[in-house]
Amino acid sequence: MGSIARLRKYFWGYTFIVPAAVIFILFLWMPIVKGFVYSFYHIDFVKGNSYVGFGNFRTVLHDPDVWTAVKNTLYYMFLCLIIGFWVPIVFAIAISELKRFQGFVRVAAYLPNVIPVVVLYGLWRWLYDPVGPINATITQMGNDPIAFMTDTRWSMVSLVFMETWQQFGSAMLIYLAAVLSIPRDLYEAAEIDGAGVWKRIRYITLPFIRNLIVLLFILQLIATSQGFQSQFAMLDGGPNNATLTYALIIVKYAFTRLDYGSASALGVLMFLVLGGLAVLQHRLSNNREGN
């Protein structure tokens, strides 16, 4: 086949790719590359950028707030795991055993996912209010009210509860589909062999969804390590920097201090850490498809 014929044959194929390629280059790869470049520059929209070497990295690594943010982010990720991670698994197994109203329960569990996050913020500020419904219940039971938002011991925990409430439904539905796809004969056989209910869950249900659990575990780590929107919207990183996460300090460097160079440097550092996690996730999800 001549090259002209080849060109004609594939002309439209390549043409179809061009718009997407241009967009990916302009709005994805260029910002990513520029992020690395900017991290070595002082960005000034008026006077132009100037090269500062590793200056931005020195600035951020010597900023105690950055280290607070790293600690807070790890704490936030940890809380999301112990408060949020196991909930969808337990409910998926429990709901799979429902004989009636299963569809209704699924919809109810997923419903908070559909609520816009701005509504979530307004609503939960009211729920967590010192004189809101949660504190009303607590005081009626004879306990002291809790300052969910302004007490540094509670603020992050309160945010994690709020996010778990909103998000556990989607993970639950993914687990539920996996649990429901387990062949029933396995349980039948195990029961005949004398395995009790717990043993059936322990040796059949959980191993069956093990890969999914690992995958969602990594996805959750990647997602929570980037969390900042609810911390920003509900508390602006306060009280006393207790909810200042790493992604939030990136945003603050950029839009409060207008130091886009240091913000890019923080982004680069995060990129290096998270890139590793993402590759790991890819490996695992490929394994899962292979099964």
Binding site: G35, F104, V114, P116, I174, E188, S264, A278
Partner: protein, 290 residues
């Protein structure tokens, strides 16, 4: 032999008392979960029908004692809701166009036209899946500023086209369409563009409906990015407006606040209840690939 459906539990299990107790506790916990899911949503709705004294009273009631319907008209006139709603819809329409045309064409070409070098091109697109978006959020902003796109709708539409995850979903979907259809079309002399418009697009209505729901929920939800790239109300979407004028404002009456939250909350709930099937399916696709 198998005359009944069983799960982990069989009928025999439920005849034993300890199992019955555990099953009862489980039902109770699920009921509690459902209530705690529905309570905040219903309380938002009911708070918007209370008068301002009642909504601030302690301890709070669930149902309004006196129904007040004026809150909604107050909320409607408090900010220009139709304008913000229009902006959200413009953003949604533009993002959807980018998804269908730009990503649709590219994924169709990658999946069905057997281009030489197609694998490398595919890798160029899909490698973006590995990159956490927060890490380049600031350079992305600076980049848009340099391109002079701040304050225009292009600042939403064009970056929305750079979505590797949607590209992957579309490509996987096109991979599943039988090749014979396209070969038959080609026999009849259809051009590649015609194959895309007349065969691929009509067959991919399910995947595009799923994507439409994702795109809609992003357009309806996202308040942070718009608040960075838009500096006037003229082009801000609903979520940003609500964040600026309802969530972050102290003077607004609580009942009017809840009326506005209700107005913003109900459309997506309606969309969800109506399109449940597509949403749940979309979720399963997400489960396969993050």
């Amino acid at each position: 032999m198998k005359s009944y459906d069983r799960g982990i539990l069989s009928r025999y299990d439920l005849q034993r008392t300890p199992n019955k107790i555990v099953y009862g506790i489980m039902l109770l916990v699920i009921t509690l979960m459902v209530c705690s899911m529905l309570y905040p949503i219903l309380v938002t709705l009911f708070n918007s029908f209370k008068n301002n004294v009642e909504v601030n009273s302690f301890p709070p009631h669930f149902l309004p004692q006196k129904w007040d319907f004026t809150t909604f008209s107050k909320g409607w006139h408090y900010i220009k809701l139709p304008l913000f709603f229009r902006n959200t819809m413009i953003i949604f329409a533009g993002n959807m166009f980018m998804t269908v045309i730009v990503l649709g064409l590219a994924s169709f070409s990658l999946s069905r036209l057997n281009l030489p070098g197609g694998r490398a091109i595919g890798f160029f697109f899909l490698a973006a899946l590995f990159i956490p978006p927060t890490t380049y959020i600031i350079p992305n902003f600076v980049n848009l500023k340099n391109l002079g796109m701040l304050g225009t709708f292009q600042a939403f539409w064009l970056p929305a086209g750079a979505n590797a995850f949607f590209l992957l979903l579309l490509k996987n979907f096109f991979d599943g369409i039988s090749m014979e259809l396209f070969e038959a079309g080609r026999m009849d002399g259809a051009s590649d563009l015609r194959l895309f418009l007349r065969i691929a697009l009509p067959l991919s209505v399910p995947i595009f409906s799923t994507l439409a729901i994702f795109v809609f929920s992003t357009a309806w939800n996202d308040w942070f990015w718009p608040s960075m790239v838009m500096h006037t109300d003229q082009k801000r979407p609903l979520a940003t407006a609500i964040y600026n004028y309802v969530i972050n404002v102290r003077r607004l009456d609580t009942n009017v606040k809840f009326a506005m939250l209700t107005m913003v909350m109900l459309p997506p709930i309606a969309v969800f209840l109506f399109f449940q099937r597509f949403i749940i399916r979309g979720l399963h696709m997400c489960g396969v690939k993050g």
